[in-house]
């Protein structure tokens, strides 16, 4: 049993490593936009394959553990949750890559406006990723509910960013290309927050064995 416990611990560590790689990618992607640093953006894009490789590695390890250890109850929920969480993390990595691509394009042109809401969105989304992973590691059910609530904040910011950019586009058609790209970026961040919400929901399943996905009202117990 000690061997299996060790394997589970190592698995958890790898998920955390993947999580921190994704967090960095998100942070750097937004920084490359705000600081107009296209080299940083290219670096993030270059490093995405590491995220993909680790995701596959963790996936294979989960399958191996299911086949060889036949996990049950809490162990089973931990491993199946891991398999789902890493898919969300990998997608977040892809979205960070998308942000970088738009940033590189935007950095070629004069800055349309000061970036205020987008860094704010990135900050909230990153916090959601961090807290949902923290909850995963600690088996905590309080944090996930908070993460799920914070998703609304990101959604509101997305609408706000869109309305503001719409105003630019109506005013001056020369801004359309840049405004659309910024709209994309805010949409990518909004998707990242959604993936963090997925992780939070899965952590609640892992800890309590209760599936809360697709439910309208989520109550904090």
């Amino acid at each position: 049993m000690a061997v299996f416990d060790e394997e589970l611990r190592a698995l958890k560590e790898r998920v955390l490593k993947l999580g921190s790689m994704v967090e960095n990618a998100i942070q750097d992607s937004v920084r490359s936009l705000v600081e107009r640093d296209s080299n940083l953006a290219r670096e993030v894009i270059k490093k995405d394959h590491q995220i993909n490789a680790l995701e596959v590695e963790i996936d294979e390890e989960c399958i191996r553990l299911i086949a060889l250890r036949q996990p049950k109850a809490g162990d089973l929920r931990f491993i199946t949750t891991t398999m789902k969480i890493i898919t969300d993390l990998e997608r977040m990595g892809d979205l960070a890559e998308d942000i970088c691509e738009r940033a590189i394009e935007l950095n070629e042109e004069p800055q349309l406006k000061p970036y205020i809401d987008i860094p704010r969105m990135a900050e909230v989304a990153q916090g959601m990723v961090r807290d949902s992973l923290d909850a995963f590691v600690r088996g905590c059910t309080k944090l996930p509910y908070e993460v799920i609530k914070r998703d609304d904040e990101v959604d509101n910011l997305t609408v706000q960013v869109f309305n503001e950019l719409l105003f630019y586009m109506i005013q001056d058609s020369h801004t359309v290309s840049r405004a659309v790209k910024l709209t994309y970026i805010s949409k990518y961040l909004e998707r990242i927050a959604d993936h963090a919400t997925n992780i939070a929901e899965m952590v609640i399943y892992m800890v309590e064995g209760k599936i809360i996905r697709h439910m309208e009202i989520i109550e904090n117990p």
């Binding site: 049993m1 036949q70 049950k72 109850a73």
Partner: protein, 267 residues
Amino acid sequence: MQERNRESEVRSQKSKETKIITDGLNAWFGRNQALKNINMSVKQNEVTAIIGPSGCGKSTFVRCLNRLHEEIIGARCEGRVIFDGKNIYDPDVDPVLIRRRIGMVFQKPNPFPAMTVYENVVAGLILEGRMKRSELDKAVEKYLMLAALWDEVKDKLYQSGASLSGGQQQRLCIARALAVEPEVILFDEPTSALDPISTAKIEELIQDLKKEYTIVIVTHNMQQAARVSGYTGFFLLGELIEFDRTNKIFTNPSNKLTEDYITGRFG
């Protein structure tokens, strides 16, 4: 055909019913208490698995369900076992009749070694002595078919039962148990002496049998409990720790002790 559809409909409705209820069941071997206040129910046309470490009282529990426990010297039990609404420990109940209605298949295949395959299947019926030869022939075929053994032994009916392989012997014992037409079959670790192929055959058979019978299976193999049963009871030191749907027990047990046992973190 319609008749049969209706029959299976009635059966599936009946399947929601409870076949056996134990109410405050306690059992002893001499001064040693083997079961402590077991309150559990067994659903009709379902497979109920009993799991737990060695010496937890699993076998004693099923042996109390058909009054086999009391056959051991110094063994006794208290409490009620309600079978179709009637306590089988009431003084007016004949234990022999109960054992007919609640049959048992044991861990080690135990065909009567001096008997042929044929005689083994109908041993119980011959004992009653009210069947003609032609009726016995039919019964042998019917129950060997039901036990998924007919094709393998139809040309060996007059060989000794002991000449069959272990897996075949176990299915022969199942055929023998079925021949007296019980309503419930208790399996006490029926595959622990068998290889994986024979085990798979018995498990498949159990799935088929639950359409007609109510089944309780004691098993050391948790994967087996997960595969074959709809309900699972976890026993520990003579107590029923948790009883729930098998799916619940194996994905999200309510009791920490159950979790520790099924995830192998016991002790």
